[in-house]
């Protein structure tokens, strides 16, 4: 009798294990279905166009823009940013660097672009450009230089900011992204204090968000993290967001870039 019960219990358990499909499997399946028509492609096409188009007060294209691998080199630039640039003597991420290029090459007002709301006017163009440039490095592995003194400083600052608890809810980035296996509702939260793996976290943005139909750059993604922490919004291209980018980017060394990705 006892043996029979045990055998039955074993069958029941294995049956349940087979039928169980975790929520994250379901989400992964949903994402795979959507990925076959990722609207990020529309932004990619637009970004490529904007790169080559003569625009701005100086009527110039961005084809001479130096993204860290020499003027006009786009392939592989994304997986080495943020990095230090000698001409501005600053560590810059992709978006702030693009604004620098739009200012120096095309004659746009960089401060004006930085003040523009995400998804509007020239800011929308910066996102499209970032999407295309990220796509040009699809499948490549992150390898930030992190050798210049300022890059090292930015990494350390980013690390401090990541763990800094503040705001009305006493939150830090690490509250959500500091350990393995955490999730918020049905979303898995990557552990960004180490390499989270291929195409996760820093290696997935810019991404298209299906829920609101918007293309989100890394700057906007970080901004939203701060919103959820009830912090004041960091300014576009602020040192804080670039430091966090440096921290996550260096941590992601060796991870494969899948940006522009698609998100729920």
């Amino acid at each position: 009798m006892k043996r029979w019960t045990l055998a039955l219990a074993a069958t029941l358990i294995s049956g349940a294990a087979l039928a169980q499909k975790s929520a994250s499997d379901g989400i992964a399946e949903y994402r795979a279905m959507l990925a076959d028509g990722n609207p990020a492609e529309l932004f990619e096409a637009k970004g490529e166009d904007l790169w080559k188009q003569k625009r701005g007060p100086k009527n110039a294209s961005l084809e001479q823009c130096d993204l860290g691998k020499g003027p006009g080199v786009v392939k592989g630039a994304f997986v080495e940013l943020p990095r230090h640039f000698a001409d501005t003597n600053k560590v810059q991420d992709l978006e702030s660097r693009l604004v620098t290029c739009m200012e120096t090459l095309q004659g746009f007002n960089g401060a004006e672009i930085a003040k523009t709301a995400y998804g509007r006017g020239e800011q929308n163009n910066v996102t499209a450009l970032a999407t295309w440039i990220a796509a040009e490095s699809r499948g490549m592995k992150f390898n930030l230089p992190n050798s210049h003194q300022q890059e090292k400083v930015m990494y350390e600052v980013g690390k401090r900011l990541f763990f800094m608890r503040s705001g009305t809810h006493d939150f830090s980035c690490a509250s959500c992204h500091g350990e393995d296996g955490k999730r918020i509702r049905l979303q898995d939260l990557p552990n960004l204090t180490k390499n989270p793996g291929d195409g996760i976290g820093f290696a997935a943005w810019p991404a298209y968000r299906v829920s609101n139909g918007q293309m989100w750059s890394m700057q906007l993604r970080l901004n939203d993290c701060y919103r959820q922490q009830r912090f004041p919004f960091p300014l576009f291209g602020s040192d804080a967001t670039i430091a966090l980018g440096a921290y996550m980017g260096v941590n992601a060394k060796g991870a494969e870039n899948i940006a522009p990705a698609i998100k729920r």
Partner: protein
């Protein structure tokens, strides 16, 4: 002028699968802006697809279709090298046609 569509058409056997990604706001007319005013409806109403100039698909769309819509269909008898053209027209009268070659 509307942004271009992305059209991919791939032949397999005597059929071709066509995937179209359109760039459109697809505003439903149900949303309100920050000032509380209704955002006017703006969506694609008519879609048609043709194979070498002959219409093979027509569709009437409404405000329930998502932003940046994705459409996929299969055309019988399409071979590599054939031309697939897709046209949409929205309720403001704007329209866009893009063409792709079956590969």
């Amino acid at each position: 002028m509307a942004d271009p569509m992305r059209i991919r058409a791939q032949a397999a056997g005597d059929k071709a699968t066509v995937r179209v990604l359109m760039s459109h706001e697809m505003e439903s007319g149900q949303r309100k802006d920050s000032a509380g005013k209704v955002v006017p409806a703006w969506f694609i109403q008519e879609v048609s697809a043709s194979l070498n100039g002959k219409v093979v698909l027509t569709a009437e769309w409404g405000p329930a279709v998502s932003k940046n819509p994705f459409m996929q269909f299969v055309v019988k008898g399409a071979k590599a090298g054939d031309k697939i053209a897709v046209t949409w027209k929205d309720n403001k009268g704007d329209s866009r046609t893009d063409e792709a070659t079956v590969s």
